[in-house]
Every structure is written in structure tokens, then in C-alpha cells.
Symmetry: C2
Subunit: 893 residues, 2 copies
């Protein structure tokens, strides 16, 4: 086992690939040294040693010789010696695990100063103040970081000295003051630890290294590893490196820079630097750093800027990505202290990725993998201008960020008002205790929604994401006073109906004012990358992306965003329209088949028109239309809504009591598991007949106009193949009848939702009769877990907190359970019907991890809300790149 890896002087024992042994920081330092960057020399003690030490409680034989060798390596390259009284070497000690982790020991700087070496440091730097201040800082840092003595104990005497000397800033303290503080600090150390402050660099170094290793097992670190499933036996490395100083005069500086603009992506270095300062000073915010653009024209630093530019180019060539670099200039000499991949905005991310392909730095595939799904999503929603100072925005409440983007509008508290005001051209924000299907019309008109209750998968949240509108839910500080028509937050804040507010569905904040929003767009760069992604997906038809869309308007948006068809058109939403709901209710309340058929025949022409309009948008593209799914009572008012009951009873010419009786009869204890889906189609075949007739009549008309349509009929909630067979028979019979009457034929498919465990378990039996499967992962998750989506808010948060569940299973597919059923259903289905097409059309269809799973499960496509289409296009391609071409893979078997 090799204990240490040296770096510096244009060489290194390790490299960037050795993160497992050297940690992230050590590996990158080695890499930079190797490619000739000016890295202060140093060495890394391996994480393997850390584990060996922690296991046995002592260091292995030969270890201290190795550390001595490492120090000698630094001494040789710097010409200084640790503990030397005339030209002492100072080093930094830093922890560095495989991934950065909270709880691990912080940096110690200036290690090597003692009473004996401090004079040497003065001689070396010619700066008495610098030397004593460094000593003071070192004692404080060491005491705090290695021994855990609270910082506040050291800050008090500093404050006293400053007061006495009338010094405003630390750097104004006199040499005498610093000397006094050093004495006091040492005394504090002695009192707290019962030992003198270590007075040789060797002892200091040993204690610092021990402390780093031990910090691997501190409580915070253990907890973090438990939560994120990080193995205990990774351990941490330790980096020991020669100090360089940016605070050695006006030819010294410290700075941070990005190799490109992280906000815009422009190909130009971006950053700032502070003359005669150390990193700490930048953080303290005492002086304002200068922009890097000024460095080019600064006589003292012009050559540094040029060198930086060269180094940045080299770094990008080497790391193939935009870098975030820390540097120090010590007496006109540039040192690079750290480099890492730079964080960036969504706009910058797509521009950089796109540019780097042009620059031939990366391939298209790499560019696609560089883009985070959230980046694409962020490009699509209006948002609060990121340049606005967030602190000044002063939110009045915070809820759960349920659908991204921000919205501004006048407050309304009923769906009716939302419709009324938006008809007058006003922008409104709908605030409700919680929303329901009754609010749909109002929601369609509002800019965004805010609800008092509910979670990320509540009605409001789901509808919002479907509509691409911002939404904040579970904002329980709000109290809606329906009588006074106002909303109160706490005791003092009142929002009146009609007041303007801003909601931010990305952060969850609510503001009682109008905030300027900006609307980013899918820019040329984003479109270019998505086009590349599409090429990968479509080559060999590897993975498709469709939209969940019920209305022509949604379908048009979906098409614009790149949908390749409609994966789910829910027909029930079509009936909530005020003109239709009455006929629908007549149908539901019918006492006989005849009455029901009469009502249905009124609905037929309406439905036919619905489908015609949808077909017009989606010519040449498949449309999956689902027959009626929800329990019928969803179309009726609730029993305690006396007003509505009276009104509806009047319209339907029945007594309110009769209506109530009927509503009571339709009541279900568990509507999710009740009389819905295919069960409606079986008990009321006339409903299926009407819907299917509407679809085929519309399709025949289109065909006669030479417009090619691809209708797919989907039967929901099938659990037994015989249910499907019964309904398919109806579909085929009606189709043949319509074709005969129109004298034209339209090719169509009939398939089913797989949304019950039993359907997945018996997928082979169903696939014998079905042309396609669409996984309704919302319901499949409900039944597989036995979770009611409407009720889980009572315990899911605690499940996530206790790490019983890693993700909310309604957001990200549960691979072990629900995923197992999907894989099973795809395999069983294909074993019987090799042409079977499969898709996922639940909420999960727009979730990146779930899309990736879908591809791996050999599902043919995902279907998601129009606004998630670009994300799905991206993630689909990423999955193919990451996991390879399914067809090629399966051929190999």
C-alpha cells in the first residue's frame, strides 16, 4: 500500500482518475500539477490509510517515514524547511473525501508557525505584522478546528484589543496587539485542553492529520453517510500543501474565476480578484473585489491575466468543461489552488454545451448529457428576474413549490371569479383551500394557483404541471375568509380580493406585490441540443415522447414542444364544460337504459366535435383516447352543497330529495377502488358505445377529407382480460358499423391502461387481445403501495424524513415495487404479442428518473404534460446514451 502521493513541480504521483484513493481535491491537484499548472507543491495521504488507521487505532509501519518524504518533497520544491528558524515552510492541511461531505474537518492554514519560526517568517516576508497576524490566526484556527474550542472565546479578546486600539478592522491591529493576542490565545488553549499549544511543526502536523481522519467518524458525517447511503469504508484523504499568500503586498492578490460566463455562457473568463488579500478577506466582505475584466488593463496584473487566460484554455481543453478556478498571486507569481466544474444557469448550460460541440471539445452525446432536466424546465417558465435582489422581495408566506415558474395577478378566491375577471382581460391568481374538478374552468383562466392545503401531488399541483402554470400548495399560514372575501396571513397581513400578488412556484414564496417577471424561451441553443437528442431517440425508433392532452389547445402546445403524438387524452374533462355537465348529469341520474341512451345521444355530437378538433391538430400522429374513467359521482355536487343540489334538481326536473337519494346511492367508501374505469363500461356499455361512435365518426369524416388520423382507443382500469375482451368487442362492433355507414375504413388500435397490479401480473393474458399497454403509473403506485394519493400527506413527509422512502413514489417511480410490475408486464406482454406497444402516461412520464427507468424497462415511449415534453426528449436521449441501445443490447443476449 502506498501511503502518500506527491504533486508539484510539473509532476505528480497521482491523477484525476484516482478520486477513490486521493479524494476529489487531491486527485485534481495531482492532475493540474501533471498538466503543468502552477500548483503549490504538496502531497496527499490516501483515504485507504485513513481507514487502516481508524480500524486499528494506529498508523501502519513506515507511515511516518512516508509523511517525512512528502514534506521533503515540498521542502525541495519551495526551498524552505518545516520548522526552519530562518526560512520556515508553512503548509495548509485539508480533508478531501471522494465526494464533498458536511461534517468533515475544515481547512487549517499557516501550519508550521511556532515561537521559534515566526522570526524566520518575518525575515522571509519582511513583514512583521503579516507574520504575527498569521501566527494569531493559525492558533485560533487550529484550536477551533482540531480541538473544537469555540471561536467566540478567541473573538472576545480580539474585540477588546481592537477597542483599546480604536481599530475598526482586524488588519488595523498593531504588532504589539497581535503579540498580546498570541499570548492570550495560547493561554485559552492551555486552559481548555490542559496542554500547551503544540510548539513544533511536526507535532502540529500530526495532530492536524489525526483530526482529519477522526472527523470521518464524527456524528454529522455518520448521519450524512447514513442518509445518502455512502459506504463507511470510503474514508477521507488529507492534502498537505505549501502555503502561498495573496496578502504580501500590492503585487499579490487572491481571486475566483469561471472559464466562461456562468450566467450567459459567453466564452469569456468571468470572475473577480482582490489585491493584497487572502481568501478569508474576500468572504469577510470588507473590500469589494474587482471584476476580472479590469485585470487585463491593470499594469501590475496584465501578465497574470494573460497567464490565466492560457491556463483557462488549457483547463477546458483538459477537463472538457467550464471550470471554476481559485487562484492566488503571491508577489507577481500565479498559483492555481483549485479547479472544479463550474455551476451555471440553465441558459449558460445549453449555450456552453452547444458551443463546446462547435469547438469540437465534446461530442453531441456529451453535450446532451451535460444538460440537467431542470435546466430545460427552467427555460420554459416565467420566473422572477434573477437579477432582482431577492432579499428585498420580502415574501409574506412560504408554501410547497409545486409547479415551477412565477405568476403575477389579482387575487380571486372562486373559480367563477377567475372566469369572470379573465373574461374582462384581467390576470388572476386563484387562491383556494384546495382545488377540485369543479374549479377546472377557473384554473384554466388563472395565471397560477395557491392553495392552503395539499402536497406536490394534490389536485392543484397536478393540474398546474399539466397546464404548465406555476403553483404553490400547502401554504398553511394562509386563512381564507370567504365571508369577508379576504385572505389573512398571521395577525397583521390582509390580502383583499383583487389585490395583486406574485407567487413563485419554483421557490414556494408568496409576495404581496407585483414583481417583474422574465420569460425565458427555448433558445436556439436549447433547440439545437434537443434536436440532437431527438436524432438519437428516433434513430431506430428507440424511445418516443408523447403528450397527455385533452384539448386541442394543449395538443397544439405539445406539438410545438415536440410531442410525437398524444399518449393520453382523458375524455372526462370534456364533460365539465357548463353546457355539458347537465346532460352528463341527466345521463348519470337516468333510471333506465333508455333514459341514459337519450342523454348519451345528446352528448354524442359534442364528443364527436371534441375528437374532430383534436384530430385536426394531430394529423398523422397517434392519439390515445381513454374511455370514461372517474366514478360517476364526481360529476355530481356533494351532498351538503344544498344550493347546487336545488339548482341541478330544477334543471333536471326532479325533486332535490330524489337527487340527494341518487347521490347517496352513488357514494363510495373508497372511490379510488370503486365503480369506475372499465367497470363503468361493463355495467353501462352504452357509454362506451357513445364514446367510440364519436371517435370513429370523427375519424371517418377526417379520412373522407383525406386527412390521415391514427385513433387508438384505451380502456382504463382493466384488471382481468375478460373485461378488456368485453369492451374490445364493443369497440370493434361500433367501428365496423360506423365504417359501413361512412363507406370508409380507418385503421385503429385498441389497448388498455395497466394501472392495477393484477393487470401487470396477468399481462400475458391481456396482451393476447390488446394492441398496446399504457402504464397508468399514478394508479399503479396507489394500488401497489396501498397509498391513496389524496390521503398520503398525513404520513409521506415523515416517510421521506425517516428515509423509509427515498422519493415520493408519486413523483419518481418506485423501481423495486411498481417498477418490477412494469418490467414484468412488458416482458409478459411481449412474450405473447411481439408487436405490443408500451408507454407510461402517469405523472411519472415527465419525471427524469422515471423516464430513464422507462427506457431501461424497454417501454416504448413516455407521455407527459406538454410542458414536460422537452425534458422528456432530453432525458430519453440521455438514457439511450447512458444505457445503450436496447435493441443492440437484446441482440447480444
Amino acid at each position: 500500500m502506498k501511503f502518500i502521493y506527491r504533486f508539484g513541480g510539473g509532476r505528480a504521483d497521482g491523477n484525476a482518475d484516482m478520486k477513490n484513493v486521493l479524494g476529489g481535491k487531491g486527485a485534481n491537484l495531482a492532475e493540474m500539477a501533471t498538466i503543468g499548472l502552477p500548483v503549490p507543491p504538496g502531497f496527499t495521504i490516501t483515504s485507504e490509510l485513513c481507514i487502516a488507521y481508524l480500524k486499528k487505532g494506529r498508523y501502519p509501519k513506515g507511515y511516518s517515514d512516508e509523511v517525512d518524504k512528502g514534506i521533503m518533497h515540498i521542502e525541495e520544491l519551495t526551498g524552505r524547511k518545516l520548522g526552519d528558524t530562518s526560512n520556515p515552510l508553512l503548509v495548509s492541511v485539508r480533508s478531501g473525501a471522494r465526494i464533498s461531505m458536511p461534517g468533515m474537518m475544515d481547512t487549517i492554514l499557516n501550519l508550521g508557525i511556532t515561537d521559534k519560526t515566526v522570526d524566520g517568517l518575518i525575515r522571509q516576508t519582511n513583514d512583521e505584522r503579516f507574520a504575527y497576524d498569521s501566527y494569531r490566526r493559525f492558533i485560533m484556527m487550529f484550536s477551533n478546528v482540531v480541538q473544537g474550542i469555540p471561536r467566540v472565546l478567541f473573538e472576545k479578546p480580539l474585540r477588546e484589543v481592537k477597542e483599546r486600539e480604536r481599530a475598526r478592522f482586524d488588519y488595523q491591529v498593531s504588532v504589539e496587539g497581535l503579540k498580546e493576542l498570541i499570548k492570550i490565545y495560547k493561554k485559552i488553549y492551555l486552559e481548555k485542553i490542559g496542554e500547551h499549544f503544540p510548539n513544533t511543526p511536526k507535532k502540529q502536523l500530526k495532530m492536524a492529520i489525526d483530526a482529519v481522519f477522526k472527523s470521518w467518524n464524527n456524528e454529522r458525517a455518520i448521519e450524512y453517510r447514513r442518509i445518502y447511503d455512502i459506504p463507511e469504508d470510503w474514508g477521507t484523504a488529507v492534502n498537505i500543501q505549501a502555503m502561498v499568500f495573496g496578502n504580501m503586498g500590492d503585487d499579490s492578490a487572491t481571486g475566483v474565476a469561471f472559464t466562461r460566463n456562468p450566467n450567459t455562457g459567453a466564452k469569456k473568463p468571468y470572475g473577480e480578484y482582490l489585491i493584497n488579500a487572502q481568501g478569508e478577506d474576500v468572504v469577510a466582505g470588507v473590500r469589494t473585489p474587482k471584476s476580472l475584466t479590469k485585470m487585463e488593463n491593470d499594469k501590475t496584473f496584465k501578465h497574470i491575466f494573460e497567464e490565466l487566460t492560457r491556463i483557462f484554455k488549457k483547463l477546458e481543453q483538459h477537463y472538457k468543461d467550464m471550470q471554476d478556478v481559485e487562484f492566488t498571486v503571491e508577489k507577481s507569481r500565479l498559483w492555481i489552488l483549485q479547479t472544479r466544474t463550474g455551476k451555471r444557469t440553465a441558459v449558460a448550460a445549453v449555450k456552453i454545451a452547444s458551443d463546446m460541440v462547435k469547438e469540437e471539445l465534446i461530442t453531441r452525446e456529451e453535450a446532451i448529457l451535460r444538460i440537467k432536466p431542470d435546466d430545460i424546465d427552467n427555460l420554459l417558465h416565467p420566473m422572477i428576474d434573477p437579477d432582482v435582489d431577492k432579499k428585498k422581495l420580502d415574501p409574506i408566506a412560504k408554501g410547497i413549490a409545486a409547479a415551477p415558474g412565477a405568476a403575477v395577478g389579482k387575487v380571486v378566491i372562486t373559480a367563477e371569479d377567475a372566469v369572470r375577471l379573465s373574461d374582462k382581460g384581467q390576470k388572476v391568481i386563484l387562491i383556494r383551500e384546495e382545488t377540485s374538478a369543479d374549479d377546472i374552468a377557473g384554473m384554466a383562466r388563472a395565471e397560477g394557483f395557491l392553495t392552503v392545503t395539499g402536497g406536490k401531488t394534490s389536485h392543484a399541483a397536478v393540474v398546474a404541471r399539466g397546464m404548465g402554470k406555476p403553483c404553490v400548495v400547502g401554504c398553511d399560514d394562509l386563512y381564507i375568509d370567504m365571508e369577508r372575501r379576504e385572505i389573512r396571513v398571521g395577525h397583521s397581513i390582509v390580502i383583499k380580493e383583487g389585490d395583486i400578488i406574485t407567487i413563485d412556484g419554483t421557490s414556494g414564496y408568496v409576495y404581496q406585490k407585483e414583481i417583474k417577471l422574465i420569460t425565458p424561451k427555448l433558445n436556439t441553443n436549447a433547440k439545437r441540443i434537443l434536436r440532437w437528442a431527438d436524432e438519437i431517440r428516433k434513430k431506430g425508433k428507440l424511445f418516443g415522447v408523447r403528450a397527455n392532452a385533452d384539448q386541442p389547445e394543449d395538443a397544439a402546445i405539445a406539438l410545438e414542444y415536440g410531442a410525437e403524438g398524444i399518449g393520453l387524452c382523458r375524455t372526462e374533462h370534456m364533460f365539465f364544460n357548463p353546457e355539458r355537465i347537465d346532460v352528463m348529469r341527466e345521463m348519470i341520474l337516468a333510471e333506465s337504459k333508455e333514459q341514459r341512451e337519450a342523454a348519451l345521444s345528446e352528448l354524442l355530437p359534442m364528443q364527436k366535435n371534441d375528437f374532430r378538433r383534436l384530430f385536426e391538430v394531430m394529423i398523422d400522429k397517434p392519439i390515445i383516447i381513454r374511455t370514461l374513467d372517474p366514478p360517476l359521482h364526481e360529476f355530481l355536487p356533494s351532498l351538503d352543497d344544498e344550493e347546487s343540489i336545488k339548482e341541478i334538481a330544477k334543471k333536471l326536473k326532479v325533486f332535490p330529495e330524489q337527487l340527494k337519494e341518487r347521490i347517496k346511492k352513488l357514494h363510495e367508501n373508497n372511490p379510488m377502488l370503486g365503480h369506475r374505469g372499465v367497470r363503468l363500461g361493463i355495467t353501462y356499455p352504452e357509454i362506451t358505445k357513445m364514446q367510440v361512435r364519436a371517435i370513429f365518426e370523427a375519424a371517418c369524416e377526417m379520412t373522407k377529407e383525406s386527412k390521415h388520423v391514427l385513433p387508438n382507443i384505451m380502456i382504463p382500469l382493466v384488471g382481468h382480460f375478460k373485461e378488456f375482451v368485453e369492451q374490445r368487442k364493443i369497440v370493434d362492433e361500433v367501428a365496423n358499423d360506423v365504417f359501413k355507414r361512412y363507406q370508409v375504413k380507418v385503421s385503429y388500435k385498441v389497448g388498455t391502461m395497466i394501472e392495477l397490479p393484477r393487470a401487470a401480473l396477468t399481462a400475458d393474458q391481456i396482451a393476447k387481445h390488446a394492441d398496446f399497454f399504457s402504464f397508468g403509473t399514478n394508479d399503479l403506485t396507489q394500488t401497489t403501495f396501498g397509498f391513496s394519493r389524496d390521503d398520503v400527506a398525513k404520513f409521506i413527509p415523515m416517510y421521506i424524513e425517516k428515509k423509509i422512502l427515498k422519493y415520493d413514489p408519486f413523483q419518481t417511480i418506485d423501481v423495486d415495487g411498481v417498477g418490477q410490475l412494469i418490467i414484468m408486464a412488458v416482458e409478459k406482454g411481449r412474450s405473447i404479442n411481439s408487436k405490443l406497444s408500451t408507454g407510461i402516461c402517469g405523472e411519472h412520464g415527465g419525471d427524469p428518473l422515471s423516464i430513464e427507468f422507462a427506457y431501461q424497462a424497454k417501454v416504448n415511449y413516455v407521455s407527459c404534460s406538454p410542458y414536460r415534453i422537452p425534458v422528456a426528449r432530453l432525458v430519453g436521449a440521455q438514457a439511450i446514451i447512458k444505457h445503450g441501445d436496447i435493441k443492440k443490447r437484446s441482440r447480444k443476449k
Copy 2:
């Protein structure tokens, strides 16, 4: 291919094993002929020929020669000839498929009479009237059965002739009258068919055979086969057999007999006979048949009786079972026309099986297989005396028979009244719209329940079966008028509160009077057979039977019926006791953990006592105790129950509004999928702690008294292994704490219900931590199908009717779906934990088909209601006998 199989004269071409070719009737006729019984000679045309004929529309070459050979065979043995004018042969033609099936062609008798042969018949029989009457009947039967001419057309002229001749009965019509009728019948035939009545026996025979074959494809038969999944290509055989006549004078007779008494099982022939009559006459009910016991002393028939007795013995020796025999005596000569296994009562079934083992006719295994599970069940419930004439009972309504047995009592319409009256020593029947958990106390006191709504798996039905009480549900003719305290049935019938009624949960009938009930018991014979069954089950611990029991009283009954432990003790029922429900409510309504713990500490001693009492009954036997399962709102009144809310609020010292608010908060849209089971234990670990502490304190006390107890703790509704791990940690911690305090250790197991698809799918992950699995098949069925047991009544009946489902999946396990999950879970679980014990504790644990499935799925035991224990003991052994010893089988692999 062989077209015909002959029988008669002590020989036969076929035998009893050839039912697939000869049909049931033909195969048995061949068998009887072979063993030397006096069977009228005949032959069977195979069902294979039937299929060949139906496919090609014509008979294969050589077929008619074969039929001729068959006829010759009969002619040789009888000495008569078909169509012979002096000594004509008459035959019967009957269909006979593999199983008896409605829609198939009826019997044709007397085939072979024509104008030419009728005189020969007169000479043969010396009975002109007999000959012409036979001719008349034949024409009518042939016309009706072969040609489908309505019988009524023939009855009209017969009636006219009788009126004219003043004949009261058919046999009083004169020869002249008969001759006239023959002419009229032939005319009817000619008019309807357009052809003369076939005037040669050959033509008659061909037409009759054709008709049998064609009847395979008549609508009724096709529909029947569709419903019962009978293959189309089975076809039917045709039996042609020499006629024998029981109506040839006072030395002739016809009769039916059982080889033993089918009511009591007594080993003595049982049956009746009618002198000078044909089968038809017995059916017509003109004369009363004599009991077979009289035959022994009837001079004319004494030798027949002796011969019958010999034949009966031979039949039982041969078929190894009690037989149901049809016989005819023609002029003092006995002919056996048919034998089949006889139907019998439950009492007879167990006696016969037990006796036949003693007689060494059958083995114990065969005896066990002979008993139908329903037989055992019927032996356990009070029932309406089967000797009472049912027609005179005059029921007032009929509902769904939901739990077997009958009960008599005074009508009460609230649970409170049930308690009050039963406290006064009165027997009551509880009638409710539907029952709920609130009614439990009243239900425990009532003799039986009758509900207006609900199906076989409704609350009332499930509770009834659990309590072993009769129950009729879904009796929707009833209207409960709570104001007038009466129940109305239609317009005229009124049942007042306090009136005595009788309900029959076996038939679903309700009677407005007291009916005498009898209570059969598990008699010696039944006990003996169950003991044999136990020996088979227990040898090698092949299959166990446990009880679902929450109370010591139930446990004691279970033990008496042979339970080997408790497979499910639901702790929630313990809290509905009036003294406890308030404390329970306090616990639920607690605003803080401290308040909740205070209430729980009040419940602790009560729970401890519950478990002590249960342990006392089940010493040395395993008890599986399930931690709290139902959603907490089940313990609170419903929101519109203002009265209860006020009362409870007062008791709990809160405002009614506060209570309402809390109830509202606890409301769930789908409680089945809501905050219940392990989810309660995770969010309120203090509840689990209290229950587990109560269990272990009770167990430790018992152990200190040297009583050996086997506590098993079961966590309900686990879907993710981490849920189980969390709860198991609590159990183990509390156990250790209690053991330390009591200075004693009790060995225990911790397991989980598998009642969610996800639990089954990830059973390997769970089994790593669990000692046992118990399949909660009720909930597993709900989630696998997505069926709410409370709501399925809206469509399950239609599903059964349309044959989408063969059984109600809540009664009989759905092998393809739910069963697949069980098999998967057992396999996955054992792959990780070879010691894993598995059981089924849902309603299915008492259902015969499901018990058989459980054994095949390698589940270790079933747990059912105490009253189903004997059934489970029987069926468990039957499954082992039928499917072999699992261990042996798996060793073979």
C-alpha cells in the same frame, strides 16, 4: 376409429373409464354389463363419431354397417328383431355426454313401433291397449323431441277423447280411442313437417340419432358450454338399448333405490317402487309408490328384493360408494337401468365414509376425499328442521345468504337495543340498513343479523361468519322506519320491533314467525374423519390450521374445534368496549405526544389483561397478535352524528366544534389506502410501544407462573421493508426492556402481514428481517384488483353474471392474480430466509378452494374463523392427498 361399443349379456366392449368416448351413461352401462348385472342389452355410438359427423355434415364410411351390427347384437340377446312383424324389438335412444348437460336431447322410448309392427307387439305382450298406448306415446315423444313439435298440440286431442269417453286418467282411454289418437297424431306430424311419420324402424332410428347429435349444437347447449368452459369438441354419445317394461302387469314394476339411507347413512337399502308402471307414471304422481322396505314382505317381489340386495352389495363393492339405482321389473324379471353415485345429506356423508372405512371398502384417505367441505359446515350451524315442510313456511322476503345457519329472535333495530334486551335474557335478531364497527357490541349479543344492503363480503356478513352466526344481507325489500320503530315489506307486511322472526342464512329467507330449529353437532363420525385428516396434516407438519380470534371466548371455541394456534388476533376490536373507547378517543384526539402517551398508559393495563386472558387459553400454542390496524377515524363518530359528538365532546372536555374539526382532519377520501396499519406505528411509535409492552408484560407474567406462551407480533400493511425494520426495532427494544424488568425471557417472533402488492413483490427484502409472513388476502385482493370491498356490490354481481369473474375474489382466492403474488412472496421470502413461516389469515383461510390453493402455494398454514376450523382441517388433508406431500415433491426436483 371404433364407432360403436356394445354391452349386455354379461359382456361389454367398453368400461367405466371410457366416459370421454362413451359419455357417462354409456360407460356405466358397459361397466354394469361387465360385472354381470342384468342390464338390457344395447350399444353406444361414440362421442368421437358425433364430432366427426358434425364437422363433415355426414357420417363416415362404414358407420351404418356398425349400427346394424349394434342392432344385431341387441336382437341376438333379446331374440326379437327390429321391424319384425311378429316379435318386434323396441329400443330407447338417449343422449349421453361426458357430463350431464341441459339442452341435450331427451330420451325417446319405444322406438321401433310402426303400423306394421304394432300387431307383433300385441301378440308379444298379449295386451292390445298396451301396444296402442305405446305407439301413441312414441309418436308424441318422437314428434316433440326429434322434430320439436309442441307437446300441447298432442295434448288437446287426447283431452277431447278423454272427455268423450269420460276417462279420468290416460290409462282409461279405450283401444278405439287410442287408435283414433294415433291417426290424429300422424296427421299433426304431416301438417307440421310436410312429411309422413317415419314408417320403418330404421328411418326412425336414423332420425333419432341425427337429432341427438344435432342437439349438441343447439343454443342452450352452446350457451351452457360457454358459461362452464366446456370444450366444443367433446361431443355427445348416443345410447341405444332394448326396451324393458315395468307396466306389463302386477308382476312388473319400476323403482328407484339408494344402496344406503341417503338421509342418515344407515346401511340399509332405501327407496321406492311402483307396481305396473313406467318411470313416467312415477313422475305423474297419480299413484303413491311403496317404500322399498315393503318389498321384502311382498310375495311377488320377495325374490326381486333379494336380488336387488345382492346387486346393491355388488355395486358398492365395485364402485366403492353408495349408489343411486334405477330398476325395472318386467314380468318378474329384474333389470338395472342406471347406477350413479348417490347424493346424500351431510350426516349421511360422514357416516357412510366412516362406515366404508370400517368395512374396508375404502381407505381413510378416500373417506376424507368423500366429504364435502359444506357437509362439515352444515354440521355446525343451527338450521331449520329439514323435516318441516318448506312450502308451508311462507317466507316474507329473501336476501343474500351470507352466513349459514338459521336463527330465531325478537327484532331489534339498534345495537343498543340488542345489548339491552339480551341483558334481560332475550334472544334478538338485529336488523340494520347496514352494520358498522359501532354495532359490534350489539352484534355480539344478537342471534343473527339481517341487513337491507350489502353483499356476501359486507361488514355484517364478515362479522357473522367470524362469529359463526347466521346472516342475511342485501334484503332490499325491507324498509326500516326508524321513527315508527318498524320494518315494512311491500305494502302489507309490517314487522314491529319486538316481533319474533326467523332468518335462514343458508337460504336467505326471512320468516315472520318462530320456526323450530335443530342444532346438529360434529358427531362421532365427523370427528373420526377429522382426526384422520389431522393425522395426515400433522405428519411431517405438512399443513397447519389456526384461528382468527380476538377474544378468549373465541379462542376457546377455536381450540375445541381443533385450532393449533391463533393466526390472527386483531387488537382493534378490543378498543370498542364502551369503557375503553373513551380512552381510545382521548388518545386519538391528543394534540401532543405527551397527551397521547398519557391516554396510552391508561390503555396499557387493559391491553395487558386482554393478552393475559388470551394466553391462558392458548398455552403452548402460537398466538399472532397484530398491532393496531384501522385508520383512527374509525373510532370516532361520523360528522353528522351531532348527538354522539356532543356526548363525546363533553366526556373529553372539549368543545363539539373542536371535536368536529379533529374528525374532519382525520377524514380520508380512500380510508382503505390511507393512514392505517404500519403507517400509524411509524407516525405514532408510542402506540406500537404500548401494545408491545402489554404483550410482553403479560407473557412474562405467564412465564413466571411456568405457563409456556408463544407470542408472535405482526406488523400490518407493510409495503416497504424499512417500515418493518423501524417497527421491529421498537418491538425488540420494548421486549428487552420488559425482560430486564421481569428478570425473565420469553422467546417471540416478529413478522408482517403481506397484504399489499408491493410487500409481495419485495418479499425477499422483507424476509431478511421478518420471522413470518401472514397473507392478509382481503386487503391483498382489494389492492391487486383495485376493488374496494365496501363498494364492489355495484358491479361484482354483474361480473359474475357475465362470467368475467368465476368467483367473488373476496370469497375464493384469485389464483391468477392474487395467487401469483402469494406464490411469488413465498418463493422470494424463503430464498432469503429458509425458516420463514407463512400463513393465510384473510377470509379466504376458511374457503375450501383457497385452502387447497394455499397448500399448493407451499403456505404453511391457514387461519380462519373458529367455526371454519373443521372445514380447514378437512380441506387441508384433502389437498395433501390430492396434490401429494410438498416436501416429497420438492425433494424430487
